[in-house]
């Protein structure tokens, strides 16, 4: 998740066409046989050069991985919703400190650019493996292409050398980077999900940000009376409205209700009054005609832009929203994050939010300058670099209190920081969409029908449970369990 403008579910085939696929599979077939021997020759040949490169640099407290002065560092970043300005700033800072020369490549085509390099045994030193064309981490892990990053976790933090890096991270960061029991990916961006509104609009109209569902509905009614929509959502991608539905379920029923869904329990949705109440609450918006007109058929950028133009009071999204909409947001818009308002009798408080780490950074096992790569990741987890990221990419990192309080953030990011502070330990994060893509898709289809008023909440529950029951037959179902 959180891979910004190219969140998995949004890649509507622009990136990787079937024609490309056919071309590529054909090309693979053609080169596979003759290149086998060539590649193996390459791999064995490069071993010696890497040994030569990793010269004996004394390992000290300041230089725990032994970065060599004058070495080269090869960085590849995914240029998505966060841009790549932050990476350029990092590389400049790194070169200054270590006397290295960094080469920078930013691209959206991670797979096609890097596959040959991984196969050829000369991968870059740091990769932001994200976006619609990321190389799947489990594939890289199986091929032993990922360096174990545990050393970074156990190295001293740059801000406070008495602390280990691992103790400066947000909860869930280490778990989020584990594959097959090894920590191989640093999920760097901390994302929160919920509702967003314009501080300016609310001030003008004298509306207070709602904390309960009746208050939320009240503002939607007032918005309608004022001639604008209540809730906008990115109708062409029902992923977003499912954030609202699932947040209501988790907040009303507590973490058990969330785990029941992730663990594919037979009563995750069926005979679960909490789930039905949440879906009915969302459906009430549709029934009372409080959606922004036409929002069901709009893409994410279309509906977000409409919302930026004051055509709706609220919109659902993750915290990449501010950076994604940077150009479309009016100067005085004052974007604000709002945790999902709670239904009466909710187990979690209003402050509770969905939050989690995303955007994996990796160091390839065969990287020529592995020490440099590891040091780069350690530097990313310093307050200086984390602040740079927050400023340049308008998003939070997994570093606890990772943003210098003296730094002025954009209003949306600032409000997300405040909400995260207020939430404290009350954060939650669903896993089902990562674990069971088919189930995620079926829930999205059902929600699309619900929002278009073609099915009723009871029918939604029925379809959702059917999707859960189907997912239990997935071979992954026995490995993916959470408690």
């Amino acid at each position: 998740m959180g891979s910004t403008s190219a969140h998995g579910e949004n890649s509507n085939g622009e990136g990787f066409g079937r024609r490309d696929l056919i071309k590529r599979s054909a090309a693979l077939g053609l080169i596979a046989v003759p290149t086998m021997s060539f590649l193996s020759a390459c791999a064995s040949g490069s071993d010696e050069t890497t040994k030569g490169n990793e010269s004996k640099v004394a390992i000290t407290k300041e230089n725990p991985f032994g970065v060599a002065k004058g070495s080269k560092l090869d960085v590849v970043v995914f240029k998505g919703g966060y841009g790549d300005d932050y990476a350029k700033a990092w590389e400049a800072a790194f070169d200054k400190k270590w006397g290295t020369t960094s080469s920078h490549l930013s691209t959206q085509e991670i797979t096609s650019k890097l596959q040959p390099r991984f196969n050829g045994g000369n991968p870059p030193d740091v990769v932001d493996d994200s976006g619609a064309q990321q190389i799947k981490l489990d594939v890289l892990a199986t091929g032993n292409q990922l360096a174990d990053l545990t050393a970074v976790l156990d190295a001293p933090s740059l801000d406070d050398p008495s602390k280990k890096v691992r103790d400066t991270l947000m909860a869930g960061t280490v778990e989020g980077g584990m594959i097959g029991g090894k920590f191989v990916a640093l999920q760097y961006v901390y994302t929160v999900w919920g509702l967003w509104y314009s501080g300016k609009l609310f001030k003008e109209k004298g509306w207070a940000p709602p904390k309960t569902w009746p208050e939320f509905m009240d503002i939607c009614q007032k918005a309608k009376a004022a001639g604008i929509g209540g809730l906008a959502h990115q109708g062409k991608y029902p992923y977003y409205i499912n954030v609202a539905i699932m947040d209501l379920i988790a907040k009303k029923g507590g973490l058990d209700a969330m785990k029941a869904i992730d663990n594919l329990e037979p009563n995750a949705f069926a005979d679960n009054p909490v789930a039905l109440e949440a879906v009915e609450a969302i459906y009430e918006i549709v029934e009372k005609d409080l959606l922004m007109p036409g929002t069901n058929g709009l893409t994410h950028t279309e509906s977000q832009t409409q919302w930026n133009q004051g055509k709706a009071a609220f919109i659902t999204s993750g915290s990449w929203l501010e950076n994604e909409q940077l150009k479309q947001t009016p100067e005085d818009f004052d974007m604000q994050f709002l945790p999902m308002p709670v239904l009466p009798g909710s187990k979690l408080p209003f402050e509770a939010i969905r939050a989690g780490a995303g955007e994996p950074f990796i160091v390839p096992e065969k990287a020529a300058n592995k020490a440099g790569g590891l040091e780069f990741l350690r530097s990313m987890l310093s307050r200086e670099w984390s602040t740079l990221f927050a400023q340049q990419a308008n998003s939070l990192t997994v570093l606890k209190d990772g943003v210098d309080p003296a730094v002025k953030l954009r209003p949306g990011t600032q409000s997300a920081v405040a909400a995260l502070k207020a939430a404290g330990d009350n954060t939650f994060n669903y896993r089902y969409a990562d674990w069971y893509s088919a189930m995620g898709t079926e829930l999205e289809n059902a929600s699309n029908e619900l929002m278009a008023k073609r099915i009723q909440p009871k029918e939604w529950i029925k379809r959702a449970q059917a999707a859960v029951d189907k997912a239990t037959k997935d071979p992954n179902a026995k490995n993916n369990k959470r408690s």
Binding site: S25, K236, M292, G294, E444, N445, N448
Partner: protein
């Protein structure tokens, strides 16, 4: 020109030229097909080099897959309408442009300004499908900003608070897409038919006119029979396009690789891609690919056979 080259030598000479293209064709066209066929009997995930042989499991699962069956039905529906509508409109326009004008002293000619029309009609063909998807995305946009909705709202036919969500309406979405394909195709087939019509000797038309044939009679008794080869080829091409539809559906409709709302615009290619790249069921997707290939081959054969007629020499 050498007269000495005997036929045997010439054969070798030609083969020398053909080896490279043939090798290219085998590796880039035939070999992927063979691979797909092989993968369709495995549980390959598309993300890992290892897989098991599962026999015909994928094919039997395919028979029970309601989404795929729905997609097949949509493809068949398109198969009926895309060629028929496109060819009829293209024929009508081509006839009007070439032989539909007032029969002046000179005999057969198109309507006034037909040379200009021909260029204009060809415009849509110049646009790539990706541009087309963006263009028609703006036409069908689901709020007042959409061309259709904006127009209908101005006319007072649509309530601005409840615009028509063209591509999010189960009953409209397939027809909306059909319209795009037809809009795109008519120009090309118009030019194709025009060229065929121009090769029909004028005196045949003149004879028909002298015998007192009207426009309709000229069309059905003279033009259409002489154009039959072109029409037949067009039907095969358009039929194959109707079996595909991937680009338009995947970019214009909702859902991972399109197909929404709730599978109402699903075609076989979108189901295939979703299974291949999103659900990690590459073996299953390959089975779909094989089914698509076989169906397309059968349909081409049927079309060519069903439309076979005696050639009219002229």
């Amino acid at each position: 020109m050498s007269h000495v080259v005997n036929s045997k030598g010439r054969g070798g000479f030609i083969a020398g030229f053909l080896i490279l293209p043939l090798a290219l064709y085998l590796t880039f066209v035939i070999w992927p097909y063979v691979q797909t066929f092989g993968y369709s009997f495995t549980n390959w995930t598309g993300q890992s080099p290892t897989f098991d042989f599962v026999g015909l499991d994928n094919y039997s699962a395919l028979l029970k897959d309601e989404v795929f069956r729905g997609a097949l039905l949509h493809n068949l529906l398109l198969l009926v309408f895309v060629p028929t509508v496109t060819i009829l409109i293209a024929l009508f326009f081509a006839f009007m442009l070439n032989a539909g004008g007032r029969s002046g002293a000179g005999g057969v000619q198109g309507v006034a300004g037909s040379a200009l029309y021909k260029v204009i009609y060809f415009f849509p063909q110049v646009l790539s499908l990706a541009i087309l998807a963006v263009l028609f995305g703006a036409v069908y946009r689901s709020d007042e900003g959409g061309l259709l909705n904006g127009f209908l709202t101005k006319l007072g036919l649509v309530d601005p608070a409840h615009p028509i969500e063209w591509l999010n309406e189960p009953n409209f979405v397939l027809w909306c897409l059909l319209l795009v394909v037809v809009w795109h195709g008519v120009g090309f087939y118009l030019v194709l038919f025009s060229a065929a019509m121009q090769s029909v000797p004028k005196d045949i038309y003149e004879a028909a006119l002298l015998d007192g044939a009207g426009r309709a009679q000229t069309f059905f008794k003279v033009t259409l029979p002489l154009l039959w080869d072109s029409v037949q080829t067009s039907a095969v091409y358009l039929g194959i396009a109707a079996m595909d539809m991937f680009v338009l559906v995947s970019t214009m409709t909702s859902g991972q690789f399109g197909g929404g709302p709730d599978h109402h615009s699903e075609v076989m290619a979108t189901v295939l891609m979703r299974n291949f790249l999103y659900f990690g069921k590459a073996g299953y997707a390959c089975a779909m690919g094989v089914v698509m290939l076989v169906l397309t081959l059968i349909l081409s054969a049927i079309t060519l056979r069903a439309t076979r007629r005696e050639h009219v020499e002229f």
